[in-house]
């Protein structure tokens, strides 16, 4: 079991990233809180040591994506319809950001992950392939396909 210190450090270091990954997959803040807590609970109970900070970060990415997927699978059996997350975040986002995010969220799940990891976390395709357990070429083609889709939606300002 991880120490209190480790936990606080990991909270400072990865909270925003985990929160963003949740944002990419989940629809409201209740789900987000559930998954967020789950990710950190897994961290608390994870007994093996991390080789490096990078390794630890990649572990968080992997676990957060999995936790979201699991949660969605579970949530898909629910009867009630969750609130739209983007509405909740509207007050902190300006118009451009909302537009971009809506476009990103409209992408299929696998494209959302690679776009986030590549453009926000600055992971090269090789790393993404390793974290997601996919072939490097798959990641490349997902990336280019995702870029294409975004360009269609957002027009020329997308580089």
């Amino acid at each position: 079991m991880k120490s209190e210190e480790d936990l606080n450090r990991a909270m400072e270091a990865y909270a925003d990233m985990v929160r963003r990954i949740c944002f990419l997959h989940l629809k409201n803040k209740y789900d987000t809180e559930d998954v967020f807590q789950n990710v950190y609970l897994k961290y608390l109970l994870y007994d093996k040591p991390f080789e490096s900070g990078e390794h630890e970060k990649a572990w968080f990415v992997r676990v957060a994506i999995n936790a979201c997927t699991d949660h969605l699978r579970y949530a898909s059996r629910r009867k009630w319809v969750p609130l739209d997350l983007i509405e909740e975040e509207r007050e902190v986002l300006d118009d451009t950001s909302s537009e971009v995010l809506e476009a990103v969220l409209s992408l299929p799940e696998k494209y959302r992950n690679v776009i986030y990891l590549h453009y926000y976390e600055d992971y090269p395709a090789v790393e993404i392939a390793r974290i997601l357990g996919k072939k490097e070429n798959t990641v490349y083609s997902w990336l280019s396909r995702a870029r294409e889709l975004l360009r269609e939606r957002l027009g020329g300002e997308w580089v």
């Binding site: 963003r20 807590q37 109970l45």
Partner: protein
């Protein structure tokens, strides 16, 4: 810079989310520790129970072996055939137990160690005898195994069986049940012998005296009743009638058991069942006795 990064930079984990999560984890940690502690405790008590149960089974003797040369030693044997108790019934026996490790070894090995030990070999002269007496539900098997054992064969051990009642009786006189059995056999032929006398005699002396008595014949075939009465007055002079009663039955068993001796196959033990306490039937008694006498030399 890219638009994705810009668009997401404001999406952050709120302080509230972090705080809630840390609190949640603290709660989980507490609960986990509590559960862990409870689990450990349960596992520990189960282990202890199994261990204690196993030990109790292991440490409980189910059979007893009395080995009498001059040193008198009783071994308690558990259900796995291992020696778990070793008690001496005279000083020679105590000396030997101090020197020889007998506990937790298979009983045949223990007998081997006992008879093979230098301090015992000293007693194993031409005149001495090795008597091995067994109390067990599976005494036949044990006697067979002991008889097959190299050492007891080498020392010409004579084997008998006895029972728990005789053992208790023997311990009342601070004797090993093996020696007590021999005493009872002697008292059958020589009514004048007392328990105290027996105490002082070595096994070789007891056997010699039995042989002598028998060699003289039984002083009139019809004297059985009389002799028994005599023995009653001599051997048990300081004892209550009650203890005599059990002594009597012990004697029968001893006599009966003589037929279980290793080399004694010719003598049919079924001819005398335990509970046949009629040793005033001289002919039967005599025959049985002779049977055991004939072997082991």
């Amino acid at each position: 810079m890219n638009v994705i990064r810009d668009s997401m930079k404001d999406i952050r984990a709120s302080e509230e989310l972090k705080r809630n999560t840390l609190e949640y984890l603290k709660e989980q940690r507490r609960r986990g520790l509590k559960r862990l502690r409870r689990l450990t405790l349960a596992a520990a008590s189960i282990c202890l129970l199994i261990f204690a149960g196993g030990y109790m089974v292991y440490a409980r003797p189910v059979s007893y072996i009395s080995i009498d040369v001059n040193p008198s030693v009783e071994l308690g044997v558990n259900c796995f055939g291992r020696v778990v108790e070793a008690d001496a019934y005279n000083r020679d026996g105590r000396d030997i137990l101090d020197q020889v490790l007998l506990k937790n070894v298979p009983y045949l090995k223990a007998i081997g160690r006992l008879l093979g030990d230098e301090s015992v070999s000293g007693y194993l002269t031409r005149d001495s005898r090795v008597f091995i007496t067994v109390i067990s539900d599976s005494w036949e098997t044990m006697l067979k195994e002991i008889g097959r054992d190299e050492l007891s064969e080498k020392y010409g051990a004579q084997t008998y069986k006895s029972d728990l009642a005789s053992r208790e009786e023997a311990h009342r006189y601070e004797m090993s049940f093996g020696k007590y059995r021999a005493c009872l056999e002697l008292s059958q032929y020589d009514g004048t012998v007392t328990v105290e006398e027996c105490h002082r005699m070595s096994m070789g002396e007891i056997e010699d005296r039995i042989k002598t008595c028998k060699g003289h014949g039984n002083e009139g075939e019809g004297g059985g009743h009389q002799r028994r009465n005599q023995r009653r007055s001599n051997c048990q002079n300081s004892e209550s009638d009650e203890s005599f009663g059990s002594a009597e039955s012990g004697g029968d068993t001893g006599n009966d058991g003589s037929s279980g001796s290793a080399g004694d196959t010719g003598n049919d033990k079924s001819s005398k069942e335990p509970g046949n306490d009629e040793y005033d039937d001289d002919a039967g008694s005599y025959g049985s006795h002779e049977g055991h006498h004939g072997h082991g030399h």
